[in-house]
Amino acid sequence: MLRGGRGAVAALRRAAGSRGAGGQGRGQALEPSLLRFLVCPLSKRPLRYDESTNELINEELGIAYPVIDGIPNMIPEAARTTRKKPPAGGSKETSGPAGPQQ
């Protein structure tokens, strides 16, 4: 009985911990002061910060740059495409050294 109780407490703690960390694709949010400087490294056009997914989105090109541990990853190879079909310009699918690391 005691073991069951401890197990339940441990499970609750784990759940609370992961919620605190923000769950999949979130984590630490972007520093707001950065938004005045950041643009898409490819097109140099403005980005939209999506708080729910913690990404910086270039609507025109249909790509999203992730924010990991509060640091925006602005390497084109790491960005994901937001559309089902690749955008007109063609998405960059080169094998760079960075690559999405999670």
């Binding site: 490294p41 602005m74 390497i75």
Partner: protein, 284 residues
Amino acid sequence: MAAAGLGPARLFLGRRRGAMRALLGLARGLASGPQTHFGFQNVSEEERREKIYQVFENVAEKYDVMNDSMTLGIHRVWKDILVHKMNPSPGTLLVDVAGGTGDIAFRFINYVHSIRERQLQQKLKRHQNLSWQEISKSYEEEKVKPLGDSQVVVCDINKEMLKVGKQRAQHLGYSEGLSWVLGNAEELPFDDDKFDVYTIAFGIRNVTRIDLALQEAYRVLKPGGRFLCLEFSHVSNPLLSRLYDLYSFQVIPVLGEIIAGDWKSYQYLVESIRRFPPQADGRT
């Protein structure tokens, strides 16, 4: 003997126009063709980028320790000089490229902070008849804006280096006016004409397309903004040069193996210093 561990450095201080053109000319010569160099090897551009990424991924944790042992702490002096030459005033916007572990950024913050404090002291001294309300208001302002709108953005292509930098910042208590971005010096994720100062300390020789990095620096700097580059240079004195070579190629990689368990990375770092064009080329 101290000179052998010095790794002589030089400062390029360019105003946005003239000096940039000179450096671009030099860099275009380096960027010829898809074949390039990695230390003393010849590799493709893509390979070079990957190898350099791995070097810094490997050394990130021990980067600061190795800098101290390799240069006998003298790299700190060079970085201090860089920030003093910069002489930033409160309100300055700095982008520190290849700034990985934050050395320049922290110095910038310390410098601006002390200027702000001095300004506050002088203001209070001048106004002897201030009421307690006015005095405490001044202190409040300083607390809310310890850097007076100054900001430094650290941009590096290497995740590990940034991670170490962020940890150091937390450990040393830096938070205000400091942000971290994972980005490529050849393709900066910043808007045009944004920054007052662009620094790249001991980083530009690791960039594969230096011409692109310089173009980007020009782009993100405000008109009249300054470009400050700190880099290793060649030793002209032949005796010193021999001692320096001995130290570089015999001692440093061994230190790398002992301290960081990584001889090859330090071999690359030393070779890359030799490969970087000597200072005379930068002046033409």
